[in-house]
Structures are given as structure tokens and as C-alpha cells.
Symmetry: C2
Subunit: 420 residues, 2 copies
């Protein structure tokens, strides 16, 4: 398609999504749940087709010499199909957030005023590689009463189209608008440009993928974006922290998985406890092949450590590397986290009530923890049931974004003829 | 200043605001309340200076031949000063939203997960004419633990600077950072351009003023904007509505004040009740010099009515003009409101339970009402205590924006050593 055609195509997609969103906003929970189970059934039934489409994608990707990490993310297995099915059934079991009324109170004028939860409208989701996002995102948008426009990565084109067909089948079977979820059938970059600027048709954009994608989308979008940037997460081991707990949390936060956004990248440790903990902890790290980079004080304690640069404190390694800094106070720890961190997830290990309370209040991150591993920052662990992503923004949704992040609230007023 | 100087100046302002916001985020309520009462005292004490500065502004404005409506908005009286003082004291009496923890629940893993309300950080407010906004906005930002950068209109320059001095005096006296509220001392348009693009220093922009200002700010900002666009509000009088209540609400919603955003602009009325109500209601409107524009069915009932054009249904008159349309069903009314309206405030007058319930759910506006005048859409009437504006956006804050709209929530996790 040329650019004029793409614009026309996207405007049509946008208009259909807007129309569908008006219907979706008022549909009863039971119909949305039927749609989710129908989509799940269709995906299960078409497993072979999905795997075959994915095989085509994988062959193309290998032919183009794509890097192996990307090919890993692209790969769909029989287990992956079951997970998609399971995910949709889980979403159908979640409480429907739409229409929920809260804080309905009488005012002196006699009116009652409260808030009702409503869908955002049309959600544009731009993602890469993992084909399961097509099913997950469709499920979350349907349950939250929104319409969705999905734009998957070109490398997953065939598989995404196969999943899209299952989604449409489920929507039609349940009597919901087929256009409630539209998966773009072009992978032209120009289509993304249209999607993120169609103010009249799209209410929010959720980019999911590498930093390049997210940067492009946030720079160019003129629609609000719910985005996740870096995950430079910290654990701070406070003076007088429990030794075993400190080691267990610092180990888990770094090594349970290296490549996730809620993995700790920098360990801060109080100077009074550093000599006791660092040798034991670093032995564990070294046994797990974690590279150690530290400030000069840490290097003086652990000889395998190399000196960290200023850049290290700002880096999300997503790899078996850790930076370690010894601090002389809670103030210095909070200052480090707020200035070098990415406002994602940070945890203190402490036995001290007052310092725990201060850490919770003063650390400016989407998740702030006491005596728990940063790895808990996750929609499922938080009980949101599912997540569309983790937001590092402050506006609208912050932290793991579940169904509620795809909704808004309107005021409702109940009167009996009041005037001003 | 030239553009390079303005950029340098704004960067400095931004950096100071960011620093101040870090302090403001952790300050106890009592100190914020002391600051608010000190600012109020300083404004009261300096009444003469404020009125004299305002006199200078008024003279300049008259000299430049500014329109009388603008000069009206610009004028500060002794009563206006008292209102500012009263407003600040009212804000100091509001509950501090910051640090409030909600929904703290145990998860199967043993961690407790909840949400803590936190300031947004730095709020940029761009406004026109009315000098009282300087005091109101400062008060709301201080109470919500934010730092503020205020950019008032050039026509109110002297008065804004005089108020700014009182704000600084109050901040210093209470031991809060003097830079928690900075009022720009330049009225160069370039400064606005910098303010709305300094992503690293400003977290949200609130434009308050005419549509030109709001359009420019939303088009050019690369920071989230909490904005208010049109107020094309509707009252729908349903089949079988109470006659007296219908007339009372439709009268009040249109005529109590013509120039406010929550004034009704279009009246929708069910065909079965139109003949009974329209003659009585239109007589009231005509007595109050309200111009009547209607569809052909309404024109057939009231001879003083002129035929409305397609544009009328989309217009916020802010004037003694009303458009009236007869509809044949609730569906048609909802469809009209959602497609022609501005998603601001819409009300149904009805005695029917099921249709009231449907209207509440299906109308996509920031305030949806049953049997109440649209004029109630207001922060004070809703019990928010004060408002920084009314948002017609869906993301983040919707409807009247009080202290809570200037805050966000972070997740907090309390554990006892849990790992994954």
C-alpha cells in the first residue's frame, strides 16, 4: 500500500473501532465472557494452524538472520497455545470493572454524587515478536469494554493473522461486533504513524517492545501513551537488616531471572552491614556467574569486583551483571534511587519501623517494597489477574496495568429535581 | 530576553521546581497548612499593593483597547482579595490526600499489596486574565505536595507578580522551599513553548483559558495535558417526565448563568411530551431573552423558534441561545449526546427507573446526571473542596479536578522476606 492508501485504510479501521467501542461500552459482562471463552475455544481448535503459521514466520525470521533472542520470543509451542487459552479463560473469570459505582455520597444540596467506572474507548496496542500478545491484549480490551486496534510485529505476521481469525470467530459467535478487535493486516511502519496520531479514533496507545519502539511511539504520538521505559530496580539493605533475609532477597531479586524489568540491577547496602553481607552474597553471585561492579568501598571488600562507572548506576543490564554501592544512610540510599533509578520498583530490607515507613513514602517509584523481592512487581502477583504491561509513567496508570488501567471513571449525579 | 536566554531561564526554573518537588513530596500536612495560612495572611496584608498593581494592569489593558469581557475578568476588587484569602484557608482545611494508603490486601504469597497516593511532581499551569488563579493554583499545588510553575497572562502581569511575592513570603515563613511555587517573570510566548516541552522537569500541564490557548498547548505539548475543551451540555426530558421538574431543570441549566461550561446548550425532548412542555418552557426562555433554535418539529410547536443548522448541535454558545431537538426515543437522545456533545455534562429528567439506569451507563460524558441541573458539575458542588479545572479528557482525571487530580498512586508492597 502507498501512504494515501494506508491513511485511508487506517481511517476506516479507526472509524470501525470507534463504532465498535460504543457498542462494547454497554455490553453485559456475560456476553463479554462468552466471547472470551469462544475465542479460547477457537484458538484451541486451531492449534495446528497457529503452529504452522508460526513455523512460516520462524523460517522467514531465520532466513533474514534475525538474532536468536528474537526468534526465541517469536516461537509458539503447543504449551504456548495452551497458555493463551488459559489466559483468556482467566480474564473471563475476573470481575468486570465496567459500571462499578463507588463513593456515592449525598451532598448538602441533596444530590448524590459518585463515580462510575467506564471503558477508555479505543486502545491501540503496538507490539513486537511474541504472538501471544495478540490473544492477551484482545482479551483484556474486550473484558474492559474497549475496542482494540492491534499492530503486531512484521516477524510474527502469519501467526498474528491466524490468531486474529480466531478472535473474530469468537466475537461473531458471541454476538459482539467483529470489529471490537482489529489486527492490522499491514506491517508498514506508516500504519503505526497513522495509529498514534488518529486522535478522533484512538484514546490511548500501549506500546510493548524494545526501547526503540517505545521511544518512537512516545515521541511521535499525539494520543496519551501508557508506556514502560527502563527497569533500573534497587534493593537497599539497611543497617541492622536480617542477614538471611537480606541475602535471600538480594539473591532472588537479581538471579531468579536476569532479563525481566523487575530484576534488581543495583544493590545498595548500608556501610555498617556491608562487611558482613557482601562476602557471603557475592559468593552466591559468583557461583551464578554474575559479574560484579561496585564503588570503591565495595571493591575493597570483594576482590572479584571491578570498579563501576557513573554509567553503571543508570544501566538496566537485563543480564548477569550487578552494580553495588555502599551508602552511609537511608537518605543517601533514597537519593541514589530517586536520581539514578527509573522509578520502576525498589525494595528496602530492614527491621526498623521508622525507616521502612520513610522508604515507602520517599521513594518515588511505581512499586515500593519492604522486605520483599523486586520480582513481585507483576500483575499476577499483585492480584490484578492479568496485565497489559507495567507503566513507569505517573499519569493515569502507574505500575502493573491490569483491567482497571484500561478504564476511566465518570461522575454520576442522582437528584430529585435539584437546581442551583 | 532572546530565545537562548529564555531557554536557559526556563531550564533553571524547571530544575528548581524539580528539586522543590522532591522536598514537597515528603512534607507533613501541618507545614503545608501553615504555608497556606501564611500566604493567605500575606495576601490580606498586602491588599492595597495588589489592588494598585491590578490598577496598573487595567490601565495598560484599557490603553491597548482590550475587550470589556477580558477587562472584567482581569479586575481585582477588595472582595476578590477576600475570596483568594478564603480560598486558601478552605484548601488548608481539606484532607491531605498525600500518603493515603488504600486497598492493602494480603496475597497468597504472603505479601501485602496496596496503593499509596503520591504527588505528580511538577505542575505547569498556563492561564489568562484572572489574577486569582495565581493564588488558587498555588494553594492546590502546595496542598497536593507538588511544585508549581505558573505562567499567567501578560495582561495581569503586575498583579500576578504581586501575588507571587505573597506566595513566596508565605512559603519562606513556613519553612517550605521558596521555589515550590514559581511565577514566571516573563510573558514571552516562547517561555510557554519551553514549559510545555521540558519533559525532564514538568510532569503535567494544566492550561486554563480560551480555546486558542488550550488548542495551542495540547497541540504542542509533549507532556501530558489536563485540559478542558468544549462544554456542549444537554438536558434530555424523557417521556413521562415530571412537568414541573422538567421545566425547573431545563430553565436552571440554561439560564442560571449563560457563560459557564456546564450550562446546557441543547435541550432534547421526547416527542410524546414535547407539546406539553415546550410552549411553557419556551415562554420562560423568551422572557429571559433566550434565542430559540430548533429542529423542524420544535419549530412547528413554538412559532418564535428559528430552524437550527447542523452546526448548532455542536456549538457551545456561552450565550442566551438554546438549540432544541425533539427525539423519538432514549436511544436517539443518547446517540445525539454521544455524537454531537463534548462529553462534558449531560442530564436526563425522567421518572423511569430502567431508562435512568441506561442513561447513566450509556452516556459517555465526564458527568452524567439524573433529575439534576447540569450546573451542578463543579468541584465545590461535588465536595472536592476546590477545583483546578474540569477535564473533558478520559485519561487520568475526568470531570472536575480537585486535589486528587493532581496526584497519582504508587503500589506499596509489605513483606516479611518473601522471594519468588
Amino acid at each position: 500500500m502507498n501512504n494515501v492508501d494506508i491513511k485511508t485504510y487506517m481511517q476506516l479501521i479507526g472509524r470501525k473501532a470507534r463504532d465498535a467501542s460504543n457498542t462494547m461500552a454497554k455490553i453485559d459482562s456475560s456476553y463479554k465472557n462468552i466471547a472470551l471463552t469462544e475465542i479460547a475455544a477457537s484458538i484451541q481448535k486451531n492449534e495446528k494452524k497457529l503452529l504452522s503459521a508460526n513455523k512460516d514466520d520462524l523460517e522467514t525470521a531465520r532466513g533474514q538472520g534475525l538474532e536468536s533472542a528474537l526468534i526465541d520470543r517469536l516461537k509458539l509451542t503447543s504449551k504456548g497455545v495452551s497458555n493463551m487459552v488459559e489466559g483468556l479463560l482467566q480474564i473471563s473469570a475476573l470481575t468486570d470493572p465496567i459500571g462499578k459505582i463507588s463513593d456515592l455520597n449525598y451532598r448538602p444540596s441533596g444530590i448524590q454524587i459518585g463515580k462510575m467506572r467506564v471503558p477508555l474507548g479505543v486502545i491501540g496496542i503496538i507490539y513486537e515478536a511474541r504472538p501471544n500478545v495478540t490473544a492477551d491484549a484482545a482479551g483484556l480490551c474486550i473484558k474492559s469494554g474497549n475496542a482494540a486496534i492491534l499492530r503486531g510485529g512484521s516477524e510474527a505476521y502469519n501467526c498474528n493473522q491466524a490468531i486474529a481469525k480466531c478472535v473474530r470467530e469468537g466475537l461473531v459467535k458471541s454476538g459482539l461486533p467483529e470489529t471490537a478487535v482489529q489486527v492490522l493486516n499491514t506491517t508498514d511502519r506508516e500504519a503505526v504513524g497513522e495509529l498514534i496520531t488518529m486522535k478522533e479514533f484512538v484514546d490511548v496507545i500501549v506500546p510493548r517492545g524494545g526501547k526503540g519502539l517505545i521511544k518512537r511511539v512516545s515521541d511521535e504520538a499525539c494520543i496519551p501513551v501508557i508506556k514502560h521505559l527502563d527497569g533500573v530496580c534497587h534493593v537497599y539493605i539497611d543497617e541492622g537488616a536480617d542477614l538471611d533475609m537480606s541475602i535471600s532477597i538480594a539473591d532472588n531479586a537479581k538471579t531468579q531471572r536476569f532479563g525481566t524489568c523487575n530484576t534488581m540491577e543495583t544493590l545498595l547496602i548500608h556501610k555498617k552491614i556491608a562487611r558482613k553481607i557482601l562476602p557471603l552474597l557475592c559468593k552466591i553471585y559468583l557461583n551464578k556467574d554474575v559479574e560484579l561492579r561496585g564503588d570503591k568501598f565495595s571493591c575493597a571488600i570483594v576482590e572479584e569486583m571491578v570498579l563501576a562507572t557513573e554509567d553503571d548506576w543508570k544501566t538496566e543490564y537485563l543480564a548477569p551483571i550487578i552494580s553495588i554501592r555502599i551508602v552511609s544512610s537511608l537518605d543517601q540510599a533514597v537519593e541514589h534511587i530517586n536520581s539514578y533509578g527509573s522509578h520502576h520498583t525498589d525494595s528496602i530490607v530492614t527491621e526498623d519501623y521508622a525507616r521502612a515507613r520513610r522508604f515507602l513514602r520517599e521513594v518515588d517509584s511505581s512499586s515500593v517494597m519492604v522486605n520483599a523481592s523486586t520480582r513481585f512487581a507483576d500483575g499476577f502477583e499483585y492480584g490484578l489477574g492479568a496485565e497489559i504491561g507495567i507503566s513507569t509513567d505517573k499519569i493515569h496508570a502507574r505500575g502493573p496495568v491490569g483491567l482497571e488501567g484500561l478504564t476511566s471513571e465518570k461522575f454520576i449525579v442522582l437528584g430529585s429535581g435539584q437546581v442551583r
